[in-house]
Amino acid sequence: MRMRFLTTAPAMAHLFAFAMLACCAVLNGCATVKVEVDDSREGYAIYCNGKKVCDNSENCEVPVPSGDEMYLEAEKDGVVYGEAVIHRGDGGYTTQTLAPRGTAEIAAKTVGMPLGIAAGAIQPLEYITTTTEYFPAEVMIPVMPPDSAVSAYPWDQPDPSK
């Protein structure tokens, strides 16, 4: 009886470890975020934390990284047209446009900043936070020009904030 226990205990331990790993894989490692862009023409490559994860934004499932942040970028013809930053673990769930944390830090650290730069505190970056330990199942990266860009910004004229 004792011999039988000794032979089955390691087997049970292995089985338990395997079950735990399988659970972790289901909850974490195999989890993906469906990433889309708001341009129906598609054709954007998707990057997550600086690495290309999809050649095309159509049917793009991004594996969840080990860290708490996903920096998603949509690139076409070598140009990044939009990004979304997802942070998990604090704050409320929101998809509204917010100033990225880095900008708030630099605004506090930079003394004597010209008014034109300080006025740029409202950012076009999509910033998403989630209270849960999981990333959202779907994320839309805004890549289309905002309505304000239709009446073109006067790039060839002197900077009005100067």
Partner: protein, 128 residues
């Protein structure tokens, strides 16, 4: 001092080599910013972009900006290229000695306020 005297010559050489290597590893790359290449964009925006790059680089402290190309290890070429709805902000980091490309990054800006998150990201993640 006595301890140093007791060390063999070879051990002292190894320590000196390690010290030199550590100093070299800690030294920040010296980066030169050439004039911004403008295509269909007013020079005021080049000034604004360069001011932002200088500010973010000073905060992030990954590199040291120098005013002389001869003293630099790398050069960071900035470009503003007008396109239909906005301007492409292009960054190209090259080695000063042979002009070989290290990395490039291009991002659309629909107005000048877009410069801030773009430069913030590039300074934090790419300028090394």
């Amino acid at each position: 001092m006595l301890y140093l005297k007791c060390m063999s010559l070879s051990v002292r050489k190894i320590l000196l080599a390690l010290l030199i290597c550590a100093a070299a590893a800690c030294a920040k790359p010296r980066v030169y910013l050439p004039p911004v290449d403008l295509q269909g964009v007013h020079p005021d925006y080049a000034e604004r972009l360069v001011a932002l790059v200088r500010q973010y680089v000073a905060v992030d402290k990954h590199v040291l900006l120098v005013d002389n190309a001869q003293q630099s290890d790398k050069k960071l070429q900035l470009r503003l290229i007008r396109e239909k709805h906005g301007v492409i902000v292009a960054f190209e980091m090259r080695k000063s000695k042979d002009d070989s490309l290290i990395w490039a990054y291009r991002h659309i800006a629909y107005d000048a306020n877009y410069f801030i998150p773009i430069v913030s990201r590039v300074s934090k993640e790419k300028i090394r």
